[in-house]
């Protein structure tokens, strides 16, 4: 991973689980292509550089930065701004950076509640009700930890983003394809997609990639997956189990429905959908087999957690973004 005037590459995790890094490492031997074509200047999981090394770089000197993880605290925001300044192309990589992912479900609660819950669980022994302090004096001096923000934000709510690469995590074959494309661009054999594009995805929906049989069937009742035996050939939604395929962007080759499990929406909104949750609700409403308001209401009782089911991955990126209590801090 040495210099030689090669274009510079960086990858960083903010509030994230590390699955995005694993997905990149899972491109196996393609990693060597990254090494051959780029100078990796910052990538905490794979190589050794510090914040101050990034600070010392010239603005715009990193060609490509893959940024995963959401913005949860002041440290995340600081590094997002730093990398934006230093990078020509900043990619929001993975669901957390794109839409907040599951950690953004925290936006339904206020921050005090989040912290209080963690430090008063039934197994926590905390008689003095201690909470972590961002500044704390120990006998030897002062200790610091980052400040949590009241709401989880997506990367592009903090800094401008050039490209979006969704998925939780993005599938490795697509990561490899994106890296190939950038290398071709560097060699003058291809052109970059227009700024703001969603890359490493298909342009239809998961349903289009799904091999399950679909009829025009309508449903009278929503089921929970543990209560029925899923027919291995038939559309899961038609069997009454909420599947996010109709609202979700294609690209994963419908992995979850193939494994007998509904799509939960990790590739984010299908092309053109302004708000993922409302797109999914429309799709779901269209399979409900009733015109009687009372009966419809009864059918929708089968979806007991609409916030979690329609905005599982993308609350931070949705039109809703957060609840009132969260906004108040």
């Amino acid at each position: 991973m040495s210099g030689n005037g090669k274009p510079k590459f960086a990858m960083y995790w903010a509030a994230s689980c590390g699955g995005c890094e694993i997905a990149v490492l899972n491109i196996h031997e393609k990693i060597l292509d990254v090494d051959a074509n780029f100078e990796v200047v910052f990538w905490p999981v794979a190589m050794d550089a510090k914040y101050k090394d990034v600070e010392a770089m010239e603005d715009g000197s990193i060609l490509l930065t893959l940024f995963n993880g959401a913005i949860r605290n002041d440290e995340n925001e600081h590094i997002a701004k730093l990398l934006r300044k230093k990078s020509k192309l900043l990619v929001a990589f993975g669901s957390c950076a794109n839409e907040g992912c599951m950690p953004a479900l925290a936006n339904l609660s206020n921050i005090q509640e989040i912290v209080d819950t963690a430090f008063s669980t039934p197994s926590t022994d905390n008689p003095q009700n201690i909470r972590p302090n961002t500044k704390f004096s120990v006998p030897e001096g002062e200790l610091h930890i980052p400040t949590l923000y009241p709401v989880v934000r997506t990367l592009d709510q903090v800094v401008p983003v050039d490209y979006y690469m969704p998925g939780c995590p993005p599938e490795s074959h697509q990561i490899a394809a994106v890296i190939d494309l950038v290398i071709q661009v560097l060699q003058g054999k291809a052109e970059l997609p227009p700024a703001g594009s969603v890359i490493g995805v298909g342009n239809s929906t998961v349903c289009d990639e799904c091999t399950r049989k679909r009829n025009e069937k309508k449903i009278k009742k929503f089921e929970r997956i543990q209560h029925i035996m899923i027919d291995p050939e038939l559309c899961i939604l038609e069997q009454g189990v909420l599947c996010s395929g109709p609202a979700t962007r294609s690209g994963c080759s419908a992995l979850c429905p193939k494994a007998g499990s509904p799509c939960i929406g990790c590739y984010g909104p299908a092309e053109g959908a302004e708000d993922y949750g409302s797109r999914l609700m429309t799709a779901v409403a269209s399979v409900v087999d009733s015109n009687d308001p009372a009966e419809i209401e009864k059918i929708f009782e089968g979806i007991p957690d609409p916030a979690g089911q329609f905005y599982r991955f993308n609350l931070a990126g949705s039109l809703l973004r957060f609840s009132k209590p969260a906004w108040k801090g």
Binding site: H28, E29, L105, I145, C168, G260, S261
Partner: protein, 488 residues
Amino acid sequence: MQRISIDPITRLEGHGKIEIFLDDEGNFANSYFQIPELRGFERFCVGRQVEEVPILTNRICGVCPEAHHMAGAKAVDAVYHVDPPRTGKMLRELLYSAFYCTDHTTHFYALAGPDFIMGPTAPVAERNILGVIHKVGLEIGGKVLQMRKYGHTVVEMIGGRKVHPCTSIPGGLTKGITEEQRVEIENMGRWAIEFAQFSLQAFNDIVLGNKEYVDLILGDIYTHHTYYIGTVDENNKVNFYDGKVSVVDPEGKRLGKYAANEYMDWIAEHVEPWTYLKFPYLKKVGWKGFVDGKDSGVYMATPLSRLNAADGMATPLAQAEYEKFYSTLGGKPVHQRLAIHWARLIELLYAAERWVELATDPEITSDNFRTIPTETPTEGVGIVEAPRGTLTHHYWTDERGITTKVNLIVGTTNNYAPIQMSTKKAAQNLIKKGGEVSEGILNMVEMAFRAYDPCFGCATHSLPGQMPLEIIIKDANGETVNILKQNC
């Protein structure tokens, strides 16, 4: 008072930090291993359909989502009072065994191995996985990649996805495997056994054949006398997927065994205001601070802990290695933290043997992989052994199966107090006078927590396996007086 900041510790999710304080004479005063992150899963998993929680909690960690998926799956089984059919449980354990092989392999070769294969004092630039590959050859490097690939292949076949598996639901799984897949899984498993044996042989040749390393392992600097926990089967053999959690004291005497739903009688979590992570300890002994010994409730949950807490391994090849381990290191329990690496390889062999055992069970391809729950959901606990320690998920629901409360005690968290103690001991032993802090201390501090394979991030899955450290020494006015770097 001087302060030495190790910040950020990259490859510990980039979010770890050690603060070391020296007194005015430059002697070690104290150190703090801080975790600066909190995402709040225990709050936002409330109000969700409980069958989703094993998928939501996958996003706690992308390095071992399999562990969260399994602990979660067992918790939702318990919530619905449903016992999956034998095939369902075997499929989950098969996925889990393959995952263990991948995970332990990466840790050994990419992170821990370089210290031994290249030597703790080898040039920094060589002491990483690339150095290892140069030394042992590309063929072996290729084997390491192959092992990771095979493990992920099985995880995807049974779990639906390579990262964040999605197929376990209350009562079993959403799918089984075909005979064709079984054959493929079996073949990969047989290869994994050979790979594990090869890895143990390499450890034997490189580490045990070298007196310097043996002395390092047995030395006091990395030794702590604590309690140990680990899940065992009904014969008290190590088990990753199911059984009771065995607790042994620093003399190796079994204090007892607890079932998943009894965990709160045994484990409690202590809070310190200077970090976002809690410190679990043994409730029956009590929290006495960051100290060793029988009176202190500090325990460890690692591969070494599992071996210490069990009476042996359930598979023959791993059992032979287990016996050799204790006879070489002077009997049970072993307290030396660097021995965790050896224990990890013994577990790798066990996981590979178990993989083949399960893949060759005639019932593994049966269609009976699920039981539909009929009871009203209430409350349930699921425990599995994550590679980095016992993982506990506890969910409470209303009668519709909507979560009302969630409690999680995550793998690495178990080891937070020991990690704090080990890094402190290393610093304490190595820093006598502030001005004399040398580059050598950096790798020694590193080795103190690397043994735990801490998963504050993807430490185990890094490519060049060397932890970059930077120590900034400031005087009382906050002026930097010295900067020591390794790999920066």
